[in-house]
């Protein structure tokens, strides 16, 4: 069964600073990988996904993530953080043949942005 770890429970950055949120996964084959964002009182919104091909994927709101097979990682990055980026970020991994029980979320990283 697949699993996801997000080593950082809470990260604080200053507005305009760069950001990197870490995600490591465990899965026997090449997985589908995702980053979601959850603002207070909101549902989960898909930021970006990796299925195959180019290991650097671009998402919405200026986010990007890089798949590194050798490190089993899928870290999320943004070059310049905006105050509106403050939210909870979840990395998720899915099996290629299905979702549902095989779609697993990490515990999340809470991002705070200082003015």
């Amino acid at each position: 069964a697949q699993s996801v770890t997000q080593p950082d429970i809470h990260i604080t950055v200053s507005e305009g600073a760069s950001l990197e949120l870490r995600c490591n996964y465990s899965y026997g084959a090449t997985p589908y990988l995702f980053w979601y964002v959850q603002s207070p009182g909101q549902g989960l919104q898909l930021l970006l996904k990796y299925f195959s091909g180019d290991t650097l994927v671009q998402g919405i709101k200026g986010f990007e993530a890089e798949f590194k097979r050798s490190q089993s990682s899928f870290n999320l990055r943004k070059p310049s953080v905006h105050w509106s980026d403050a939210a909870e970020y979840f990395c998720a991994v899915g099996a290629r043949d299905n979702y549902g029980q095989n779609f697993v979320f990490g515990p999340g990283t809470r991002l705070s942005v200082l003015p």
Binding site: V4, F34, G100, Q101, V104, G106, P107, G108
Partner: protein, 114 residues
């Protein structure tokens, strides 16, 4: 075009009671999945409904049950509530059972069990 809607937004129950949460999928979607998100945790898959049948189930006890109606809306029922059932319950819809990137989430129902 309405997205995934869930009701109620908040709910308070006491131990031992039963609760029903409701979800209307995004227009055009026919598959509904339910997730439990405990405080400080990522969402955990409860089960998925497609064509009015439970198709997949996560590691949750039988106290958690569901239903899907002909209009694709869905209910999540939890019997004999425990304090540990306090969580945000998220509904997600899609067209068909696969295609992760087409999964749309509602804002959730916050359940508090006292």
């Amino acid at each position: 075009d309405a997205g995934v809607t869930q009701s109620p937004t908040h709910l308070i129950k006491t131990r031992g009671q039963q609760v029903t949460l409701r979800c209307s999928p995004k227009s055009g979607h026919d598959t509904v999945s339910w997730y439990q998100q405990a405080l400080g945790q990522g969402p955990q898959f409860i089960f998925q409904y497609y064509e009015e049948e439970e198709r997949q189930r996560g590691n949750f006890p039988d106290r958690f049950s569901g239903h899907q109606f002909p209009n694709y809306s869905s209910e999540l029922n939890v019997n004999a509530l425990l304090l540990g059932d306090s969580a945000l319950y998220l509904c997600a819809s899609s067209f068909g059972q696969v295609r992760y990137e087409k999964l749309f989430f509602g804002s959730g129902t916050q359940l508090s069990v006292l």
